[in-house]
């Protein structure tokens, strides 16, 4: 790891406020009954306890962003000569995401493979990505819905982070992971923490060691693919699904979007907004035909995408980071872990029933 700095825990708000002068700071805040990554407000503080209800992915893919503004123009003569003016809006807001968890940060890399894929670069995404520093807080105690270790991550996983933050007694140790993080860290007026690096490392190792065992889901792709035509399997799985979008919208890796024009008279905006494959409209075609007409089809797609299609496209990397939000916040307690486990054992015991 590169540069290391530290601060006393109670100095955090002041520091975030200072950083906030030059960039937008997104930190977890308890708002009502849920915790979300919101623009830091000194009067409202931060809540770093546990996992935020919603992931910080909106730092890179906002719930909606205006891709462009357009306007029809007319000349004065009759009939008028008319034209179309287009103004594209590229974000250039520097952002610090503070208090993301390793799973959240790992989620960003899942997005990178899609939006920042060499030749296929999404200018809006990349503009945000380049100006965003991700400071990740290493985990200390897993929730009972956590399963990062089963999908290749871990409580100390630095993948996708620019800075790794470790709690050490009354201090936060900040260690640069990427050049971007390094550069940012060096700008900060914080005391050097090289001396604590080893301790921080040890503390992270301890947490990882203490993680509960669980079968790895890394080799799910083939099994899931094999079930593609097993509709009875998916029917049974999806029976209780409500087809809402809670899982996808809270998920750090779901990146699907919808693009709509929202016209107002002669003007209008083209908006890119979150969409999710659990919704009937997601694959609804203009003809009225829908290739994923039932929630079983849609469930198959969600699981299939995370544990088969995506890995197949991206060198085996799953598009699930095991944060467990989809389990903890599902209105009917769907459990993607057991869905995949079930898939893994399906052929073996087709009629065995584990409740999901």
């Amino acid at each position: 790891m590169g540069a290391a700095r530290y601060m006393e825990k109670d100095a955090l708000p002041a520091w975030l406020e200072a950083v906030g002068k030059s960039r937008l700071v997104l930190a977890p805040r308890l708002q009502g009954k849920s915790t979300a990554f919101l623009p830091f407000d000194p009067s409202k503080g931060v809540s770093l306890k546990g996992l935020a209800t919603a992931s910080p992915k909106h730092a890179l893919i906002p719930r909606h962003e205006t891709l462009m503004e357009y306007q029809y123009t007319k000349t004065d003569q009759i009939p008028p000569r008319t034209g179309l003016e287009v103004r594209e809006l590229i974000p250039d807001q520097p952002v610090l995401v503070f208090g993301a968890r390793p799973c959240d940060a790992r989620g960003f890399t899942v997005l990178d493979r899609v939006y920042d894929a060499g030749a296929k670069r999404d200018i809006y995404y990349c503009a945000r990505r380049d100006k965003t520093v991700v400071a990740t807080l290493a985990c200390t105690e897993p929730a009972d819905t956590c399963f990062c270790t089963r999908v290749g991550g871990g409580p100390d996983d630095a993948t996708g982070s620019d800075i790794m933050v470790t709690e050490l007694d009354q201090r936060y140790i900040l260690e640069a992971v990427t050049p971007r993080g390094e550069a940012f860290l060096l700008e900060q007026q914080l005391p050097d923490a090289s001396e604590f690096a080893a301790k921080a490392q040890a503390c992270r190792d301890a947490v990882r060691a203490a993680m509960p065992e669980g079968e790895s889901l890394l080799d799910a792709p083939d099994k899931v693919e094999a079930l593609f035509n097993e509709m009875p399997f998916w029917d049974e799985i999806a029976a209780k699904c409500l087809s809402c979008g809670a899982c996808s919208y809270l998920c750090p890796t779901c990146y699907c979007f919808n693009i709509t024009d929202e016209p107002k008279g002669n003007k209008g905006v083209r908006v890119r907004s979150w969409d999710n494959c659990m919704s009937f409209q997601f694959t609804l075609e203009g003809s009225g035909h829908n290739p994923r007409a039932t929630k079983s089809h849609r469930m198959r797609n969600r699981v299939g995408h995370k544990f088969c299609y995506y890995p197949t496209l991206h060198g085996g990397a799953l598009s699930c980071v095991g944060c467990g939000r989809c389990i903890a916040h599902c209105p009917v307690s769907m459990d993607i872990r057991s869905i995949v486990s079930k898939a893994l054992v399906y052929e073996k015991a087709p009629k065995e029933h584990t409740n999901v």
Partner: protein, 320 residues
């Protein structure tokens, strides 16, 4: 409790051969809240469970299963949703077998986490002599019902499932609850108009537009064709603005006006915990005073907005 569960299992086991599926509850990944169980084979019956953690209203699945022979396990409040669905002819009574239960109250995960601290790995939850007893890895704690039950339990109109084909156990009164906790509606009504508007603006800015509230609502029968997700008609646009989300909440409230049985699924389902029952409660209150009507009580009645009287005794029209 245990004996009730065995009775219930027995009843389901007996009826299953004549049914395509029975909907019940089973333990799930979230130890404070059970999960729906779709029983199609004998073996699955043993996964059934019944205790205060069976908070979910299973009636919402029924319209989607129309045409099948369905059995459903229902609490008092769930049965009101079933009644409403029957009333609107969205399900067929003949195809339905209702296993009715006496409900002592449904546990509120939020409250339990807050009050008892024993959030995780709950092993059992039971209601006995006015206390909700939670046994978890962190130990045992008994909570007064006021601090342990869902808000809807304070509005309980009948703890016994009605209608019902097979009633399990003894009939009984709703949980004896005093001093209902302050609802968002109470708080709202203490505010001035603009303050209320700001309240919703703030709440709606948290909404992630997942539509779980709608998907969980047993009376949102449009589901896949919800007007909130169509361009024809185009009621709400795709932007993330609070205006559009508030518009949707108004839409949900008005579409369920006179039909909503206050089962609370919309709020229970909301992943960010928004008080979206509030508008519906206000409308129900108005409908009670205007039309002396409560949804989900009498399957023979017609929802008040789908009928009229030439002279409305309780409507005071403005004189100009």
């Amino acid at each position: 409790m245990a004996s009730r569960l065995e009775e219930l299992k027995a009843a389901v086991r007996k009826a299953l051969p004549d049914l395509d599926v029975v909907i019940a509850w089973a333990a799930g990944p979230n130890s404070l809240e059970h999960t729906p169980l779709f029983i199609t084979s004998e073996a699955e019956i043993d996964l059934m469970t019944w205790d205060p953690r069976c908070s979910q209203n299973l009636a919402g699945y029924l319209p989607g299963l129309r045409g099948k022979k369905v059995g459903i396990v229902a609490k008092g409040c769930d049965a009101r949703s079933i009644t409403e669905l029957l009333q609107e002819k969205l399900i067929d009574r003949g195809q339905l077998t209702i296993f009715g239960l006496h409900c002592q109250g449904a546990a509120d995960p939020e409250k339990i986490r807050a009050v008892a601290g024993c959030g995780n790995e709950v092993e059992s939850a039971e209601i006995a002599d006015g206390k909700l007893t939670i046994v978890s890895r962190k130990g045992t704690c008994a909570i007064g019902l006021e601090n342990g039950l869902l808000a809807k339990c304070f509005r309980c109109t009948g703890a016994d499932a009605q209608p019902c084909d097979q009633f399990i156990g003894e009939h009984g009164a709703p949980p004896a609850l005093t001093d209902a906790p302050e609802t968002a509606l109470d708080r709202l009504e203490a505010m001035g108009m603009e303050e209320r508007f700001r309240f919703w603006e703030e709440q709606m800015s948290q909404c992630i537009r997942c539509y779980a509230c709608r998907s969980a609502c047993p009376l949102c029968v449009c589901q896949d064709h919800c007007a909130a997700q169509s361009r024809e008609p185009h009621w709400v646009d795709q932007t993330d603005h609070p205006r559009e989300k508030l518009m949707f909440q108004a839409m949900h409230a008005l579409h369920t006006a006179g039909r909503c049985t206050e089962c609370g699924e919309c709020e229970r389902a909301c992943p960010v915990g928004l008080p979206i029952m509030t508008m519906k409660l206000a409308l129900n209150r108005q409908i009670k005073t205007l039309f002396d009507y409560e949804a989900g009580i009498d399957p023979e009645k017609t929802p008040p907005l789908f009928q009229f009287r030439e002279t409305e005794e309780h409507i005071k029209e403005r004189k100009w």
